[in-house]
């Protein structure tokens, strides 16, 4: 009988993680093991997996079946698309984006990494750092994922050899550091047997660090909101009719960065008009102070003309609206990106028309250098210059993940064409080294 399931408490924080690694490194097995050993798999799910494993004549239960949900994946034994998994311990709840490892699915790794606090990267202890490992580390660095954990998997297949592990760990940390990643940790694991996934293994006495799950429980989940200046992209303007709220006008949105308090001076962009916060409303009552990522409604002292897509920002420290963006994009479409292409650009709550003035170059993920290019293809990461039909109040992505991110969208069929980051996140990360992040402890 399984033990009591783990429980979550009111104070449990939320950690978002994404998995990455090459095909056959055992990602699905590792995820299955995390779910299974943390008692997050329920009996009926397990019964189904055991039944299918038996039907296929497998000797032991294939935990990868817990996560490979689509028929085509089960038939081919691969993972096609990002799957989201949920598990919890008493200390923390986890949202796990399980990303496919095939090279043609780089876009999925980008998707998973875009919201991740942690990337868990698997390498095979028999193979070490591969081209695909470098690519995934580059993507994690590019998307400014705060923490990377490298799980050196299949450690049982190299006889739990400390020397092998030490060599691989040094190698992968060197590559990651070279790509500008500040916080990289390594763990020897066997996803198949369960060593160091949830419980520490007796078979790696030379490793005295935490298990993977223990590490995931300890990693700081959230940056301190106060480390960034206040930003609220306006989603909608609330103007209820009726007696009680006749003159009410509230600007509703999710705080993208920073902290705001009643009495704070703010500026509205792109218009540049200034005002003061007189109220922070929620359905549960008024707040004195609010912080990212709370969803709130602001009231201002002055009757300023504000609409969806405007940004309410700290008056003392506001971005400068611009119609020219130099950016790094991950191209997600089969159609090539060429100079002159007209697209829609969605930045925070603002969507504007844009034209690609120039393709500057393509990122060679193996050398992590920009090589000259005049167009970008599917899964390419490259640098472009964009001209916008209207200004956006964007910031460099290295300064703010929320304020530096954008989508490029096909105006005709609505397809998402690119994940965009203002500036050159990878180059800047490597040149300057990461500024030490400030976390809420």
């Amino acid at each position: 009988m399984p033990a009591q399931p783990t429980r979550t408490f009111a104070h449990a924080s939320l950690l978002r993680l994404a998995t990455a690694g090459s095909v056959d490194d055992g990602k699905s097995t590792l995820v299955g093991r995390l779910l299974y050993d943390s008692k997050s798999v329920l009996t009926d799910q397990l019964d189904a997996v055991e039944r299918v494993s038996r039907d296929r004549g497998l000797e032991q239960t294939d935990l990868a079946l817990l996560t490979d949900g689509l028929r085509a994946e089960r038939e081919q034994g691969i993972t096609i698309d990002v799957a989201y998994r949920y598990f919890a311990t008493a200390r923390r709840s986890f949202i796990l984006a399980d990303c496919p490892g095939h090279v043609q699915y780089t876009r999925n790794t980008v998707t998973g990494a875009s919201t991740a606090d942690v990337v868990v990267l698997l390498i095979d202890a028999r193979k070490g750092t591969l081209e695909q490992t470098r690519r995934h580390l580059a993507v994690a660095s590019l998307l400014r994922v705060p923490h990377v954990v490298v799980a050196v998997n299949k450690i049982d297949l190299v006889g739990f050899d400390e020397a092998v592990y030490a060599r691989l760990a040094a190698e992968v940390v060197a590559v990651a550091t070279g790509l500008g990643l500040a916080d990289v940790r390594t763990i020897p694991v066997s996803a198949l047997a369960g060593d160091n996934v949830v419980d520490r293994s007796a078979r790696t006495p030379w490793y005295d660090g935490p298990s993977l799950l223990e590490l995931l429980e300890e990693i700081p989940a959230a940056l301190d909101p106060a480390a960034e200046a206040f930003r609220l992209p306006v989603q909608i303007v609330l103007r209820p009719q009726g007696e009680t709220f006749r003159d009410y006008r509230g600007y509703a949105g999710q705080i993208a960065a920073g902290v705001v308090a009643v009495g704070d001076p703010v500026v509205v962009l792109p218009s540049g008009r200034t005002s003061t916060v007189v109220g922070i409303d929620t359905a549960d009552g008024e707040l004195v102070e609010a912080f990212a990522p709370q969803s709130v409604t602001l009231r201002l002292a002055d009757d300023v003309d504000i609409a969806r897509g405007d940004l309410i920002a700290a008056a003392a420290d506001a971005p400068t609206p611009t119609q020219d963006l130099d950016a790094t994009v991950c191209w997600l479409s089969d159609r090539a990106l060429l100079p002159g292409t007209r697209v829609l650009l969605k930045h925070t709550t603002r969507t504007v028309t844009a034209v690609v003035r120039d393709v500057v170059g393509r990122l060679d993920l193996d050398s992590a250098e920009i090589v000259p290019a005049d167009q970008l293809g599917l899964n390419d990461i490259g640098q472009v210059r964009l001209r916008l039909a209207a200004p956006v109040a964007a910031q460099e992505y290295v300064a703010s993940r929320r304020m530096g991110a954008f989508l490029l969208v096909d105006a005709h069929d609505g397809a998402t064409l690119a994940a965009g980051m203002v500036g050159e996140p990878l180059a800047e990360a490597r040149c300057s080294g990461r500024r030490p992040a400030q976390y809420v402890i």
Partner: protein, 317 residues
């Protein structure tokens, strides 16, 4: 082993207060859902929220109310009625809609059966007959965004679902052709005849839903709590005796204390043994349960390993 679960969203004075300026997991999920509601209402012409009176749709509506307060919820609600719903759930549905002053649209499977455009299935269950009335309602009202209460923890095919799920004019979902969903930037662009299904509860688990119901003191139909009911055993679950679910030979009827973990079609929704009379008891029970809610109570999801995937492709949720 004793189980203690805190359901209060506010810091417990007996424990160390959480660090300043950090959201708890439930607060983070709530903020994310509110953001999604506001985004859809700003970018779509005619959203609608699927509301059955079941717990997930009740939580979804509660979040919608919060998202637009003090303004009213700016869209109607839609219920696809199989004709096999529990009367107390329908009464709860109507009372909730009236209290919030919302417009309720109902699409009835029975109308389609009467007109001959749908045929009753051999097993008598009607969940799979909901697709056509749903799509007709979407087309007829020209809804372009449809909020559903689907959660990614429910089933393996749903784990692959996006928060914004684009559907063609046949309501079909193509798992190999989904838009990547990056950061918190949602792409709702769609063509004429297409619509987007939106799942604000994507990242919630069953336990999260119950803890939130407890923390927010959200009212639910009484079926969700322990009550005496005449039931018979079938497929390893308790089925309530009713107009659409009669025992066959060899299925003795007994009176048991049960509750429902889901309240769908009476003909294929089972109850579980329970003494959980209040929401805190249910939270404890769910936290200790070793079965998923679907595994415990939904006969129609057991059809095949790929049952849900197939139904999603057809335009079902």
């Amino acid at each position: 082993m004793s189980v203690t679960v805190t359901t209060d969203l506010r810091p417990d004075p007996g424990e160390a207060a959480p660090p300043a300026r950090r959201l708890t997991q439930l607060q983070a999920l709530e903020s994310e859902a509110i953001h999604i509601f506001r985004e859809v209402s700003a970018e779509f012409e005619r959203p609608v929220l699927l509301f059955s009176g079941g717990k997930d749709s009740v939580v979804m509506l509660h979040l919608a109310v919060k998202a637009f307060w003090p303004a009213p919820v700016p869209f109607p609600v839609l219920h696809v009625d199989t004709g096999h719903n529990f009367p107390e759930v329908l009464a709860f549905r109507d009372a909730t809609v009236a209290r919030l002053g919302l417009r309720l649209e109902v699409a009835r499977v029975q109308d389609y059966l009467d007109a001959g455009s749908l045929r009753e299935r051999a097993d008598g269950t009607r969940n799979q007959l909901q697709t056509l009335p749903l799509l007709d309602a979407i087309t007829g009202h020209r809804f372009d965004a449809v909020f559903g209460g689907g959660r990614r923890d429910e089933e393996k095919a749903r784990a692959k679902e996006r928060i914004y799920s684009l559907r063609d004019e046949f309501g079909q979902w193509d798992p190999r052709n989904q838009r990547p969903e990056l950061w918190n930037l949602y792409n709702g662009r769609h063509g004429v005849g297409e619509h987007v299904r939106v799942f604000p509860l994507s990242n919630w688990t069953e336990l999260d839903i119950w803890r939130y119901i407890a923390a927010e003191a959200i009212e639910l139909p009484g079926l969700y709590y322990a009550h005496e009911r005449q039931v018979f055993g079938r497929d390893g679950m308790w089925v309530g005796v009713g107009p659409y679910s009669q025992p066959r030979r060899g299925e003795p009827v007994e009176t048991r204390r049960v509750r429902y973990r889901t309240v769908g079609d009476m003909s294929c929704t089972g109850a579980v043994d329970s003494s959980a009379a209040g929401v805190d008891d249910v939270v404890l029970e769910v936290a200790a349960s070793r079965l998923t809610e679907r595994g415990a109570t939904r006969a129609d999801d057991r059809v095949s390993e790929a049952a849900m995937e197939d139904r999603k492709k057809e335009g079902y949720f």
